[in-house]
Amino acid sequence: MKIRSLIFGVVTIGCVTSLVLSLRASAAVSDEDFNALKNTVQQMGERIQGLEQTHQQDQQQIQQLKQQLGETQTIATNAAQKAEVAARVQPVHPVPPGSSATHNFTMVGDAEVQFGKVDGGHSAFVLADFAPIFLFRASDDALFEAGFDITLQNNTDQNGNRAAGSSTALNLSFAQLDYLLNDYVTIVAGDMLLPLGTYSERSAGWLNKIPDDPLVRDVLPGNGVGIQLRGSLPAGQSGQMITYSVYGVNGPSSSSTNGTANASDLDLGGNVGNTPNWHSNPGAGGRIGWFYPWKAHYDLELGISGQSGEWSDSGNRLWSAAVVDAALHLGPSFELKGEYMNTWVETDDVGTISPRGWWIQGAYKLSGLDLEFPVINNVELVGRYDTINNNLGAKTDRYTLGYVYYLSNTLLFEGDYEFLHGDGAHNDFVLQLSYGF
């Protein structure tokens, strides 16, 4: 286009020049006409010069673009060669459609700080517990979860007397693999929280509205190493369901080194190591539960559970337990729950004993009174009665009155006073700040 313009310009000049010459040959040209023609020629010359410069710039740009094109082609060629080499080394698998289950790591748990005083003793601050739970979801159907309890404690010597410094206690509360076999069956294996009642599974520090556990939970193991099948069968569409758990675990054992099975040898939590089961056969247990909600926040749950198995080295002594649990919610403000448990322990020295007990706990959120006081609306009053009888002459009853103040949905400020009755019993006062995460 620019070349053509140049050519047109030259031709125009040539024509004009010819015309001028012919006109001069045929007739005289006035000064005015001559000057006008001169101006026209000068303008044409300048325009031609401009077109020449533009043409040169265009040529330079074309040259640069050619160079860049060459470099790009070289890079593309190299990349294609590399891809070819990589493809020969590893087969390429097509990415499955849709989102795939990815490894997912999440930490939940809770932490508690306490300030407490026992009658006759000094008050003290206590880092009661830091209890992280690690959740690792390996696929849509598999979850590995492990919980720890990490606590600080004053040092003691081998005789249990005070010693300098402090130590950190690290306990593995549970570590289990959960596999969702189908909609109705989940396989659980590892160090499991045992479904004897519901307290073990649903009582992490910040979930329990009173800082300490019911006394009677000491007659049961909280966890055990084994395998479990659990699941739920919905009944209708109202949310009603039947839940079940059935499991096998190593079970309680004897702490004696000489093979005895006296009452004092019973060890509820010691049969978990990498050595063979201390007795020949594992124990077995399970829970059946019925949950009936008649509307949101109005529900009843009843459950019955038990476990039985050998506990002596020789296998000739049985340990058994039965637990009945219940929980009732009447609206978002009121809760009542409890457990009754009885164990039967065959022993070498005192025959069969039945350590047993029960607890019942009620809680009421003052927001249910519908008062226009913001502080009051965050308070929940809690009361509990619990008792334990070891069937060897020791019985303790405890009455606890307390409160929970909800600083947020997961930050709780709790306080309670515990009245104990029994041999060696003492009253306690506890304040606790607990945080669930």
Binding site: D178, D183, P234, Q237, G239, V246, A296
Partner: protein, 95 residues
Amino acid sequence: MGVTMVMIGGLTSILWSAELISDSKDQKPAKKTEKRLTGAELYAINCNRCHPERYPTEWNPGQWKTVMTHMRVRANLPAAQAKQILKYLQEDSGN
């Protein structure tokens, strides 16, 4: 030995029953459909029984999937209900 056999028999029965339930659900004739509870309703029924409610914005969708798997096992929630609750939580989840 006896306890072991009972345990093996119990485990086998549970697995076999679950398979029968899965099969029978496919074969039953269609019956009148009841109103299904929404994810929000199931959340209100189940997720405040043991702990104060957790807000959907506390975790992102992937974390909710992990947490709900944990809760499905811990609270023994039916699979369909757990999926409904998860969907409800993920809709308003955080980042």
